[in-house]
Symmetry: C2
Subunit: 196 residues, 2 copies
């Protein structure tokens, strides 16, 4: 398969983490989204959402939206246990991430990292909600090693994407001990180098 992505994007890294952990082979196409490379006619014909990541399979079908992609790639694997209720608990975290965590944590980071604006000029509403999202994760991780069940799933991968990159957006992670330990645990399972 081919992955159209941006290695600076947490959403795209979720696909990379999943594919690498499952040993899936792929060809990565690095796109410059700030130069409009995810909005060209060719790209939009493949995926009208005009966002990375997109995965194009060998039969020509394409899929966008990181959550949909990693859920599809992980089916039948240890990253997505078969039990229906366990999958629903994973979905619960994945939808929460896209609805409450990503728009705020990634949104504020976009302002700093992609637009090059000072941390002080971040949208206060995104900062407040992003901090609340991290606080909520911290609370949840105080009583568990991974978000669902006893091992890493795509719920962790979905949350790891932008939580691992949150300091680049001006969010403190070091002071959140449960998150810090969970990131190290995920990095260990996924074979990622420590980022901090």
């Amino acid at each position: 398969m081919e992955v159209f992505g941006d290695l600076n994007s947490g959403n795209c890294l979720k696909v990379k983490y999943t594919a690498d952990h499952l040993g899936l082979s792929y060809r990565w196409h690095e796109l410059d989204i700030m130069a409009g490379e995810s909005r060209t006619d060719v790209f939009l014909a493949m995926s009208p959402f005009g966002q990375v990541p997109v995965v194009r399979f060998d039969d020509g079908r394409a899929l966008g939206q990181s959550g949909a992609i990693i859920r599809f790639l992980a089916r039948g694997s240890v990253l997505l246990p078969d039990d229906a209720f366990t999958q629903a608990e994973i979905d619960q975290w994945m939808f929460w991430e896209q609805n409450f965590h990503e728009p705020n944590v990634a949104g504020a980071r976009f302002h700093v990292v992609y637009r090059g604006e000072p941390v002080e000029t971040r949208d206060p509403d995104k900062v407040e909600r992003g901090e609340a999202a991290l606080d909520f994760m911290e609370g949840a991780l105080k009583t568990r090693d991974f978000f669902v069940g006893a091992a890493l799933t795509i719920a962790d991968i979905a949350l790891l994407g932008y939580t691992r990159l949150a300091p680049q957006g001006g969010f403190q992670v070091d002071g959140r001990k449960a998150i810090t330990r969970w990131i190290a645990r995920c990095e260990d399972v996924l074979g990622l180098p420590a980022l901090h």
Copy 2:
């Protein structure tokens, strides 16, 4: 099962539409979220997200996040066909809805409907993105009757929730002919009275 919800919330209506269409029996508990009824200790012990909707099953397990709930309720039904790639296409729209449509369309509507603020004081960023979300749906619906495949799925239900209520948030739907026809089509399948 029991549903803890707010009939004024599009996210909660998604659960109602799904359960009613599938003929699932449930007891609905109407909560006043502005009075903090989704943030009480009892509620948070059931679902720490502190948001409606939440479904509690007869075995005592609870599930939050509308997307996770309707995906779980719809498994094995016509609303979620078995084919893995079809499910991934449904997930694609459902994640997009929670990430790009809901924070903006429902966010702006919340300001007007729940806070009672004038339409003119909506967050301009949410208005712009909400309009873009509706434009994107309009484009997609010009070439199809439902979002995935030839019949109604939970992708349509997920998008119907707040699109049907968008005018209450100051968004024009009437001028978008493809959306207007799709809403009528969904209302017909789901047996809902026309809202406008």
